[in-house]
Assembly symmetry: C2
């Protein structure tokens, strides 16, 4: 029985989740003309603890910050992109060209993160051999073969939950090593494959629960109050 890993490349999952937030924030600051920035300033804007910011930045920054000055924004952005591997483009295949699949195929913003969707698969004959967002849609039986031949490393699953595991297995069979799963279901994969769940159900549950609580308590509420 294998351990579930919490670390990706020596960095905790929690830290990794914050990095894109810093990245986006720093890019905006840089566009606005900010040249250097301090950890307390970042912490204030992003509502984080300043020590946490310093520790997070220490994970990625090649050069240390300077007391009284802070960090050089431009260098920080560069180091962060290198750390996250945004410059090594990975090609991805998407399976399931429904409305969500179409939205993802049409979305231009992924390349910035080093991911490019190059082709899609669908079981519906009417969608096969068309193009969506400029990306060709192939029939399912070409999946393993095309993924392997094109050396695709990322699979994006946007099929209904009941087909997700099967699609996942086939992607892994085609040599895919990282899965971005939009189906609201748990996927079982071999150890060397990473599953990243984009779990909308989780968000909805949190929203729903929050509003439910607020209504129940009849207004604003804090966890300190015990009723």
């Amino acid at each position: 029985m294998e351990e579930k890993k919490n670390l990706v490349g020596g960095i905790s999952r929690k830290t990794l989740e914050r990095l894109p937030m810093y990245h986006h924030y720093l890019e905006r600051k840089y566009r606005e003309g900010t040249e250097t920035i301090s950890a307390p300033a970042i912490a204030l804007d992003l509502q984080l603890n300043e020590v946490q910011v310093r520790k997070d930045l220490a994970m990625v920054a090649k050069t240390a910050g300077k007391p009284k000055l802070g960090y050089v924004v431009k260098d920080l952005i560069r180091d962060m992109e290198e750390f996250l591997g945004f410059h090594n483009t990975n090609q991805a295949a998407l399976v399931g060209v429904g409305s969500l699949g179409k939205a993802l195929l049409s979305y231009k913003g992924f390349e910035q993160y080093g991911v490019e969707i190059v082709l899609a698969f669908d079981s519906d004959g009417r969608r096969v051999n068309t193009k969506t967002g400029g990306k060709p849609v192939f029939p399912m039986d070409k999946l393993e073969n095309l993924c392997r031949r094109m050396n695709i490393h990322i699979g994006i699953i946007t099929v209904p939950a009941e087909y997700a595991q099967e699609v996942c297995d086939r992607l892994v069979g085609g040599g895919v090593r990282a899965i971005w799963n939009f189906a609201p279901t748990h996927l079982t994969v071999p150890d060397h494959v990473l599953v990243q769940n984009e779990n909308m159900a989780v968000s909805l549950a949190a929203l729903s629960k929050y509003l439910y609580e607020v209504d129940k308590e009849g207004g604003q509420w804090t966890e300190e109050e015990d009723h």
Copy 2:
């Protein structure tokens, strides 16, 4: 300065994130004819610790499990849905009818979680006064007014990052108390408003980083190995 809350209704965020996973799993089991199920069985299938499963279920279950038997699947599903507030439908407004916005408007699966998108807003005159997924699209200047009049509590943001904060402020101004944010940016909101980030950038960063590491290390890799 306010504390960021980690608890929603006396339950830890981590636990809350697992509940939809149990819910989906249990529904499948129930469809397959399973009447009772034990914590170890769930833990095995979902790759969790069995004590964790028991603790999580204890948070939601109205009736205790029975030694040697486990829990009644049907009751568990019912309790979980009640706990998460899936039966109290909340109406939502979506802002930004781009490809992602359209996909969400067309998606039928939200109602199951107690969320119903009833209308949308967009700044593009060509989209205004059309319907997408059967939901009317209104111009931006109607936002606050319509949200308030219709007693909308959930706002869904699918606009580009640079407009997200402004849209967020207006939704809050219209009485929205929970925001589902798809823009890759940090939103600042009053304390009584919950922001749920559906942060694709985070997922992409994790995928990208993982593949980057795997390639660097020349194959499979574990965090135990120090090179």
